[in-house]
């Protein structure tokens, strides 16, 4: 990026002209194309909302980390660009046995790691064995969330509550084959092998990691040293890590010339942390960065009108109003929950507050997920009916606490406080008294809602991979305090779906589950809306992904 600023002298004049501020701000001039000469040095700068936690994706569970590591590490299975459909990654093909307990991966030939070593079945197994054999602090979900979600526990569980390991072992019958054995079939396979957390590291890198341990001494869990600076980590991705300048909040990557596929379109890729949302927009507008994610709904049109590229992603998330049933007896009454659903003008919310391209959700998954049902009960905006239902239930004077997070933007929920306010107005219109409870997202909100501390709350979910269980199973597979209900029928249904190895049968079970859920109405799905991503006019952006898994190797300068 080179932004010519020979106008330094004028800069000083600008200081004198500070009086312009009051009047000049509404000026419509736009400098979208200011970064005209960007191609010359070939550095693509992307504005990130936060620093990555670690350069080793297996220790992380947040999107900002994965956005970076996905460019460096590759997984056995990948997604087709722009879709949530699985395709070959480091494994060209894969298959499982009939019971879904043995997964064979046929690795791509000629793949080299950034440190020059080759990809072999042995290396893949070494990766999985490392995770399986983690001990001590690594066994905490803080460091091994995804491993525990997909593969259960460890070789030696040190904690009673850590789930039983579902991973059995990995063998490499030949150079280019790896066979992974699991104890129970699960809906998490094969989708789980596409998770960024399971990016494959090089053999030498793994050896180096072993000398460098995560520890929990002192005040905090410390990430192992290798994951905090460039040099040790080595993957197979189109970019390799050049440096992580924490003082600048910058991770810089550079093109890996020996990449097995098409090499990256830009020489250097920098992720620069810009925590504030409007600061990211202004940085793009002023030409300081070439793109950023989670564009606010109000900015989408602004940016596209000004010539920026704001490609639309397919929707792969769900935003819902959570209801904690056992926090208030009234909520255990289906009529009351139905009344709440009818009271909300979800279409208005989608039309005015959510990004363009959003739709009102009819069930707890977007329509792109296999298992989406067209036959669920729907609840139209009908305040009279809502009032009637409440009256019938004898709950005309219902008072509910409604929690919402502040200081946060989630892909499915931009500006939660505003969304809350609109919903509050809807609920009060049918006679429900709302007691607001605003909480900071981290840690207060997530903790309070998880513990069932609210009657109503706002939350959502972005899918990790295309399997219905990744949505429904997350919430309704067992009793959870945040939902506060026991429903063995539903729990059983999802258990059956999860362990059903046959894909079609599984999808049918998901459809059934969706219909069941929408009759039971444990919460109100609100919307599925595409999180927007924006790029400057002078770049060819990467194909946008519904899973927000953009591959920046595809990006280049015009």
């Amino acid at each position: 990026m080179s932004i010519a600023r020979p106008k330094a002298v004028r800069t000083l004049a600008a200081i004198a002209a500070i009086g312009v501020i009051a009047t000049g701000c509404s000026s419509d001039r736009d400098n979208g194309g200011d970064s005209g000469g960007s191609g010359s040095t070939g550095t693509f700068v992307f504005g990130a909302a936060g620093d990555p936690a670690s350069l080793d994706p297996s220790l992380a569970s947040d999107g900002e980390t994965f956005r970076v590591t996905r460019q460096v590490f590759e997984t056995l299975i990948d997604h087709k660009p722009g879709t949530s459909e699985l395709e070959g990654g480091l494994a060209e093909t894969w298959e499982s046995n009939d019971t879904g307990t043995e997964w064979t991966f046929n690795l791509r030939d000629g793949v080299t790691f950034h440190d020059g070593s080759d990809l072999t079945g042995e290396v893949v197994c070494a990766n999985f064995d490392r995770w399986y054999n983690w001990s001590g602090t690594y066994q905490n979900t803080t460091l091994s969330y995804y491993w525990q979600t997909i593969f259960g526990g460890f070789a030696n569980n040190e904690n009673d509550e850590t789930p039983e390991a579902n991973y059995v072992g990995c063998t490499a019958p030949d150079e280019l084959t790896a066979v992974i054995e699991v104890a129970q079939p699960s809906a998490n396979y094969p989708g789980g092998f596409s998770l960024a957390a399971f990016g494959i590291h090089s053999g030498p890198a793994l050896e180096a990691y072993a000398e460098d341990d995560a520890s929990g001494e002192g005040d905090a869990i410390t990430f192992p040293g290798y994951s905090q600076e460039a040099g040790t980590v080595a993957g197979t991705g189109a970019f390799k890590v050049d440096g992580w300048n924490k003082g600048n909040g910058e991770v810089s990557l550079s093109r890996f010339d020996d990449y097995w596929g098409e090499t990256a379109g830009v020489e250097k890729l920098v992720f620069q942390t810009i925590p504030e949302e409007s600061a990211r927009r202004q940085a793009l507008q002023s030409g300081d960065i070439h793109g950023y994610d989670l564009v606010a709904p109000a900015d989408v049109k602004t940016l596209s009108d000004a010539g920026f590229q704001v490609p639309t992603r397919d929707v792969f998330n769900i935003f819902y109003l959570g209801i904690t049933q056992d926090s208030n007896p009234a909520l255990e009454n289906l009529d009351v929950r139905t009344a709440i659903a009818h009271a909300l003008d979800r279409q208005n919310l989608v039309d005015t507050q959510l990004p363009e391209g959003g739709v009102v959700a009819t069930q707890f998954m977007p329509d792109t997920v296999a298992g989406y049902s067209d036959n669920v009960t729907t609840y139209d905006y009908d305040p009279e009916l809502a009032q009637q239902l409440l009256a019938d239930a004898g709950e005309e004077n219902l008072t509910l606490t409604f929690c919402y997070p502040t200081e946060v933007t989630r892909p499915y929920m931009p500006s939660p406080a505003d969304l809350y306010e609109v919903m509050r107005a809807d609920l009060e219109a049918v006679g429900i008294t709302v007691q607001p409870k605003a909480l900071k997202w981290n840690p207060d909100y997530t903790e309070v809602t998880r513990d069932g501390g609210c009657n109503l709350y706002l939350l959502g979910w972005t899918g990790d991979f295309n399997d219905g269980y990744n949505f429904l199973g997350t919430w309704f597979a067992n009793y959870q305090k945040e939902w506060g209900f026991e429903n063995e029928e539903l729990f059983d249904l999802l258990e059956r779906a999860s362990t059903e190895p046959d894909v079609e049968a599984r999808v049918a079970l998901y459809e059934e589950a969706n219909e069941f859920v929408m009759d039971f109405l444990p919460g109100v799905p609100i919307s599925s809306s595409p999180p927007s991503i924006a790029f400057s006019a002078d770049v060819n952006p990467p194909t946008v992904s519904p899973l927000t898994q953009e591959v920046f190797a595809e990006a280049s300068f015009k």
Binding site: E277, T352, E356, D418, D444
Partner: protein, 316 residues
């Protein structure tokens, strides 16, 4: 004969006038000075208007500040509603009447400022007053108490006030009370230090020495002489602190710690909420911004004018 008495009367009259002018007390003098200060007048007028709005605002507000005009404002299309006959200041990003929110907000803003300042003033004056009294009249022990208290106060004073407020807000969760306390606590050390300093200056003054030499009780000296005379700068500070409190409350809103209750719109929160839409609806942000700036300016002007009026050094 009659001319003579007339002349004498006139003489008495003339001298009497002189006397009253010369014998005016510090406070009367300050007040007179204040009345002739343009700064003070502008400040007082601004504050007057603001306080009036704060009192009657919620009653004269044309609409419920929570009422949403549906289907008019589309933030994802950049469609906003500006000034129009039914909504003089337009609608905000959720379609609520901006004028009503401004009017109701005046009261919230004033409330935050006043309560926070009162808190800082009361606690600060208590600490500073006791500490100052201890030092001036408490002998060796008093001196030690004062040193300890003041060292601590100094340290707190050195802490960035905003971070202090943020940590208080972090403990207490988000609410109007939180904002008031967070902003008020920050003011405590300022008031404490000020009252103590001003008391010490008074304690060293001639009239106190005279009173002490006459055997007047310590407590009486403090309550009857030192305290009343030390309050001048503290009152000035209180006026200035009101301005600071309003701005600090806005800063807290920016950091996401403002009062989240939409029914109690506070100008700082309104400004922060409107900022993202500045490119398309600048007035939405400018109304609350100007409200904050002008009000803070009002308090600052009056405070500064009072300071000048009370400060003998600046008289000329």
């Amino acid at each position: 004969m009659s001319t003579k008495t007339a002349k004498i009367d006139r003489l008495a009259e003339l001298t009497a006038q002189r006397e009253s002018a010369g014998g005016a007390s510090l406070w009367t003098e300050a007040l007179r000075r204040l009345r002739s200060s343009k700064m003070a007048i502008i400040g007082a007028v601004v504050i007057g208007v603001f306080v009036l709005l704060a009192i009657v605002g919620p009653w004269i507000a044309p609409y419920n500040p929570l009422q949403q005009w549906r289907g008019e404002v589309f933030i994802n299309q950049n469609i906003f509603v500006g000034s129009r006959s039914e909504n003089w200041l337009g609608l905000d990003h959720l379609g609520r009447d901006q004028l009503s929110r401004m009017l109701v907000g005046a009261r919230q803003t004033l409330l935050v400022g006043v309560v926070a300042t009162l808190l800082g003033f009361t606690v600060g004056a208590l600490i500073g007053g006791l500490s100052g009294a201890a030092l001036a009249f408490g002998g060796k022990t008093g001196q030690r108490i004062d040193t300890a208290v003041m060292r601590f106060i100094d340290m707190v004073l050195a802490l960035p006030s905003l971070l202090l407020a943020v940590s208080i807000a972090a403990i207490m969760g988000q609410s109007l009370t939180t904002v008031m306390i967070a902003v008020g606590v920050v003011q405590i050390p300022v008031f404490a230090r000020l009252l103590r300093g001003s008391m010490l200056a008074q304690a060293g003054s001639d009239y106190v020495l005279a009173a002490r030499s006459l055997g007047v009780r310590r407590r009486r000296i403090v309550t009857a002489h030192v305290l009343p005379n030390s309050l001048g700068p503290v009152i000035v500070q209180a006026t200035l602190a009101l301005a600071t409190a309003i701005i600090e409350a806005a800063a807290l809103s920016y950091l996401g710690l403002g009062n989240p209750d939409a029914a109690q719109p506070e100008w700082g929160v309104m400004l922060v909420q409107a900022q993202p839409y500045f490119d398309h609806a600048p007035m939405m942000a400018l109304y609350p911004a100007l409200g904050i700036i002008i009000t803070a300016l009002g308090f600052t002007l009056l405070g500064e004018a009072m300071r000048e009026a009370l400060d003998p050094k600046l008289r000329s």
